[in-house]
Each structure stands twice: as C-alpha cells, then as structure tokens.
C-alpha cells in the first residue's frame, strides 16, 4: 500500500510545480520502481512489505517501558501545558528527556520557537516533535511569502494535523500545542500524532499531564492577572515534575502577547521545591 502523503503541494495550488511532481519522475530518474519507495518530495520508507507496521513497531515512542524491546528507544517523558487567559496565553514546560529508565537530558528545549508569533510545544518523541514543527515553520514561512501576510494559528495547526493524519499508523509520536496571537486573537490548538486537532482554552500534554491538570483545573480563572497566571503555570509544572518520574529539570515559561511571545523565566524545579516548602512552612506558622 502506497503511503498517502499530504505534502507541501497543498501550498502549490495554482503553480506548475504541482503538476510535474506526479508525472513520470521515476522513469526520468532512471531508477527502478523498487528503489523509490515514496513519491518524489515524500519520504523514503523502509524497504519492507509493510512500512507502516515496521515503523510503528520498531520506532514507536510509547509510555513507560512499552519500548523496552526496541533497539532504539526514543527520548520521551514530559509535562507541557498551555492555557489562555485574559492577558494572552501562558506556555509552561519541563525539560527532562528519558530513554527507558535513563534520564538522557535535563536541558531539553520543549518549547519550539517557530517564529516570533508562533510557539509549539514538544511531548512524545522529541525527534518527531522538533522535526515536524520545524517543517511546519517552513510551511508557515512559505505561506507568508506567497500570501504577503502571516498565517493564522488555525491554519498552521491544520497543516500540522493534516500531515499527522497522512502518516497515521507509521508510529509517529507527537503531542503538541500550537499557540500564537493572530488577527482573531490568542489561539491555542492541541495537535496529536493521530491527527487529532482540538481548539481550547487549556491543555496539558505528556506523562505528567494529569498531575498538571490537577493544579490547573482547580486554580484556573479567566481573569487571572499576569503574575497569577505565571505563578499558576509554574506551580502546575512543579507539581507534575514532583510526582512524575519522567518530568523534571527546568521550567521554561513563555507568555504569548499581541506583539509575539516573550520568555518569562527558566527556573530549576528543584529550587522551586525548596521555595514552596518554605512557603508552606511560613503559612503554617503564621
């Protein structure tokens, strides 16, 4: 079964390139049909009978120790969150990457700064997230150059969701939030490796997401001030890293405003732990 691919051709509508892409390239290149697995412009896939099954069983990034039998274990384990409030959007993430039981890094940049007004977060397979979001960035830039205006967050997330949909069954692992401020205001979309695309006010993704939701759901209000919102984003990540072994490191927090995103802080969650402990002690004694 030939992989169904939604390539960049969706942006080529009206150009001659789109027609040439599918006509006779294989013959012209003089290579046999077997060697060119994907269509030109699409990905090469493993030269096996069922590439989808092969990819999803050998390269899948799964929760916990589900990938214990694989030769290559992909970096995963995360808590990321984002929520909309009256002052914009707060995006708060941790920075730990785990491969099986090993903490491979404590300094992963899980917020992908796609361009000055669009942010994407990373959860699931680190490689998948960073690659596909960088590719999305390319598509956004092409849109901007072709149309003379910035792409909307809705369109950007739709492009990514469409790409994910066409690679369904191939074992991609990506749970991301695409957020930005466009002419319709602040927007937050959740996009998944199986093509789910949801528009919402608050999302948390990753192995520590349930813990983050616990804090977020109970303290979230739309009319939070900026300081309160930053504090909420910070605490939710802290609580998730406290309970989830696969989350930790540094909390990177961003604020999305009308004029683009701003990085607010990068605080080690261990330092936060002692700060909050002391806070509780002071509260109890007063």
């Amino acid at each position: 079964m030939e992989p169904l691919v939604v390539g960049d051709d969706i942006l080529d509508i009206g150009s001659r390139k789109a027609v040439d892409r599918y006509c006779g390239n294989k013959a012209q290149l003089g290579l046999s049909q077997d060697l060119l697995m994907g269509r030109p412009g699409a990905f090469d896939v493993p030269n096996v009978k069922d590439p989808a099954l092969y990819c999803s069983s050998h390269f899948r990034s799964t929760c916990g120790t589900g990938d214990a039998g694989q030769e290559i274990k992909f970096a995963k384990g995360t808590t990321t969150l984002a929520f909309k409030f009256n002052g914009g959007i707060i995006v708060s993430v941790d920075s730990r990457a785990t491969q099986g039981n090993y903490i491979s890094s404590q300094t992963v940049k899980k917020v992908i700064e796609m361009n000055p007004y669009l942010l994407g977060t990373m959860a699931g397979g680190a490689a998948d997230c960073s690659y596909w979001e960088r590719r999305l960035n390319l598509q956004c830039r092409m849109y901007e150059l072709r149309n003379g205006r910035r792409i909307t967050v809705a369109a950007a997330s739709k492009l990514l969701a469409g790409t994910m949909a066409s690679y369904r069954g191939y074992g991609l692992s990506m749970g991301t939030m695409i957020t930005g401020w466009d002419e319709t205001g602040p927007q937050l979309y959740y996009v998944d490796d199986d093509g789910t695309r949801l528009k919402g006010k608050m999302f948390s993704v990753g192995s520590g997401s349930t813990f983050a939701y616990g804090v977020l759901d109970n303290y979230y209000r739309e009319d939070l001030t900026l300081e309160e919102a930053i504090d909420l984003g910070k605490r939710a990540i802290y609580h998730a890293t406290y309970r989830d072994a696969a989350s930790g490191g540094i909390n990177n927090l961003y604020h999305v405003t009308k004029d683009g995103w701003v990085k607010i802080h990068a605080i080690d969650v261990n330092d936060m732990h002692y700060e909050f402990e002391e806070e509780k002690r002071n509260e109890m004694s007063s």
Partner: protein, 201 residues
C-alpha cells in the same frame, strides 16, 4: 466512547451527540461539536477518532458544496448524500479506513420529507427511522423501539431523545454530561440545546 443518537419525525430529524473528546483516562475537551453540517439542510453526527471525524466530514461537505457549484446550485437529496458518504467509506476501507460511524440526517426541500441514515465504518448504509452509534446502541435502542411512532411531532421526538440520554446518564459507565442536540427541518440545521458551548474556546 462517543454517543450519537438520531430520531426522525414528521417534519424533520433530530440528532444528538455527546461533547467529550477523551483518550485513555483523560478528557481532553468537553465542549466539542460532533454533529457536522454538510449542506444547508443536512448534518451528520459522527463517532470515532477526532482526526477521522474532521477529515471525513470536511471532505464530504466540501465535495457536496463542489457539486452544488458545478451543477448550478442543484442540491443533492439526502439519499444521494448518504450514498456518496457510503461509497467514500467503502473505497477507503481497504486503503486507509475512516474509523467513523455516523448518523446522517437531512430534509429534502423538493419532496418535503426528512430522512435519517445509519452509516458504518465498514461501508454499511441503512435508512432508519431512528438510530444510535457506539455503546449508546445497547442502552437506547430499546427505549426508541418502545416510543417511536410514525409521524411524531418535534416535541415527541425531543422527548424520545431526552429519554435516551437519561438512560445513558443513569446506566452507562462513562459519564457524559454534555450533549449537543441539533434539529434539521425545513428551515435548515439549528442547535436545539448544548451542554457546553463549542465556541467557548
């Protein structure tokens, strides 16, 4: 886990669907609108993964729109729309299946008759007076069998939907607080009630 229920009455069709999107133990969102409008006088309540729901309904509705544009505004009958959907599901089945199960309801302005169709991810198509998709089938079909008559009016049909939802909320393990109910009649598709506002995002 999705619930879609539909009842046809004398002058239209009512479709109700739950509003939650969940994965494993987490509810991602609880104000979704799973009843997608296809044309001015038809809508499809869909159960299945969000990706397939969106991709399939947008593909169908845009193609139906294209048909109208190409054929001087001729609107396809609900039967034609349902058969088109079925064909697309059947063709995709052995390539990359759309894992959607749907209830398509529509009102034909030419014949002034409503109709409801049951569509399955395997390419099943059946015209039905009432129906349900998902686990809801087990809980609601008996109520609808008991209550349904020919030539119901809108109030009676809404009552049947209400009874079906009530049964689900009493006996179904998965709590589904929010339901969106849409009515398709001579005036088109309108929202009758919703548990949570899909636009509140």
């Amino acid at each position: 886990m999705d619930t879609v229920i539909g009842v046809q009455y004398k002058d239209g069709v009512i479709i109700a669907a739950d509003q939650a999107n969940a994965r494993s133990i987490l509810i991602y969102q609880s104000n979704l609108d799973k009843i997608k409008q296809l044309t001015s006088h038809s809508a499809m309540g869909v159960s299945g993964p969000n990706c397939d729901l969106v991709q399939f309904t947008e593909y169908i509705s845009k193609n139906l729109q294209l048909y109208e544009l190409r054929h001087e505004g001729t609107k396809l009958s609900t039967k034609a729309q349902a058969n088109f959907c079925r064909n697309e599901l059947a063709v995709a089945l052995r390539k990359g299946p759309y894992q959607v199960s749907a209830l398509l309801g529509g009102f034909d302005l030419t014949t002034q008759k409503p109709s409801l169709y049951y569509l399955d991810y395997m390419g099943t198509l059946q015209k039905v007076p009432f129906g349900a998709q998902g686990y809801a089938q087990y809980f609601t079909l008996s109520t609808m069998d008991r209550e349904y008559r020919e030539n119901l009016d809108e109030t009676a049909a809404l009552d049947i939907i209400g009874k079906a939802i009530h049964e689900l909320q009493s006996r179904f393990l998965i709590k589904q607080n929010n339901f969106i109910i849409k009515v398709i009649d001579q005036d088109g598709v309108r929202v009758h009630s919703q548990g949570a506002d899909p636009a509140d995002t």
